[in-house]
């Protein structure tokens, strides 16, 4: 966000954003590796070295299904680099930054909802266990959902504020 003739944000803050973007570009592939590699290992064990009495196909499906929420969460983190690119350019309250932030929040909340509400009953179904007993989120999961939805609200609010700022600037021009 810059004003004509006066730059309220110097390159120092933009450099913080650049360092953060570089770290994010390194960390995101590591995040995917941290999720995919154990999943591949678990898949191998489920398919070729199943526990006695368990169905290898069902256990392999359980591993795949349980990997969906963390992968979705990691995928939504890709929007982080877009947000930080905007901050690096000094556009802290731009529509692009706010929309990207909102999308990250939406992806995160969807991943959380899947992890807490959808995946446990699905896993119970695959294992032949009681579906309703599996729907028992703990308090920490509820806290995290509340935190993610509040963060998403921050994204929506910033997006609306950025729209208003853009409209004002367009009117001045």
């Amino acid at each position: 966000m810059t004003m004509t003739g006066v730059h309220p944000v110097t390159t120092a803050a933009n450099q913080v954003a650049r360092k953060a973007r570089t770290l994010a570009q390194i960390a995101i592939p590591l995040l995917f590796a941290g999720i995919l590699l154990p999943t591949i290992g678990s898949l191998y064990l489920a398919a070729f070295e199943p526990a006695p009495g368990s169905d290898p196909t069902a256990e392999a499906l359980v591993v795949l299904v349980q990997a969906i929420p963390p992968l979705l969460l990691a995928w939504s983190m890709l929007g982080l680099t877009k947000v930080l690119s905007e901050y690096e350019a000094g556009r802290y309250l731009s529509r692009e930054a706010s929309t990207a932030l909102k999308r990250v929040g939406q992806g995160g909340l969807l991943a959380l909802l899947l992890n807490v509400i959808v995946i446990p009953p699905l896993v119970a179904l695959l294992r032949g266990d009681s579906v309703f007993a599996a729907l028992n989120p703990n308090i920490f999961d509820l806290c995290v959902m509340m935190f993610a939805s509040t963060t998403l609200t921050v994204g929506y609010v910033l997006e609306d504020a950025a729209k208003q700022l853009k409209t004002e600037n367009d009117q001045i021009v």
Binding site: A17, L31, L101, V104, F140, F147, A161
Partner: protein, 178 residues
């Protein structure tokens, strides 16, 4: 300023104000839920099992029973605190102050609180619990793949908060000069 320009801002402020209230109420309910679900039942069980007697030993038994489950519920309490930090951010947004030091610092503090909560959930609470209940002496990890993603999510919000705080601090200094 036309109505079209004002509408998104008013909507943003109303949304922020409402969400701030919801966040505070949510934090209180979550704390009450954590107490009611994770601390009261074990304490009641300890009372019923006659381990708690009206002397120092009984008091210590009750303290150990309640204290160990408070340790397990600690991540939820820390995350409720992070929700209160986010409610302060939304409060600032509700007043139309979108790019202030207070709002940006609030985002950073909330995310750092979430990271602490995850740290306690994964390693802190299980380890301290095992030490209190004499189940072990080393460090205990309870990490699922989803926790990895959650750490990344909280770290992302913390990074954004730090960047916004740096920018807001410089803007505040420049505004003072002007």
């Amino acid at each position: 300023m036309t109505e079209a320009a004002v509408a998104p801002l008013e909507r943003a402020q109303k949304l922020a104000g409402g969400a701030a209230t919801v966040a505070v109420v949510g934090a209180i309910l979550l704390v009450l839920g954590a107490v009611g679900r994770e601390i009261v039942p074990p304490a009641a069980e300890a009372l019923r099992s006659a381990e708690v007697t009206p002397d120092w030993r009984g008091a210590l038994n009750l303290f150990a029973a309640v204290g160990s489950f408070i340790v397990l519920a600690l991540p939820s309490f820390i995350l409720a605190g992070a929700l209160l930090d986010l409610s302060k951010v939304l409060d600032e947004y509700g007043k139309g102050q979108f790019f202030t030091l207070r709002a940006s610092a609030g985002v950073r503090k909330a995310a750092e609180g979430a990271l602490w909560a995850l740290g306690f959930k994964i390693v802190g609470s299980p380890t301290i619990y095992s030490w209190i209940t004499h189940e072990g002496r080393g460090f205990i990890w309870h990490m699922e793949p989803f926790d990895f993603g959650l750490i990344a999510f909280a770290a992302f919000v913390a990074v954004l908060g730090r960047v916004l705080e740096a920018a807001a601090r410089i803007k505040a200094e420049n505004d003072e000069i002007v």
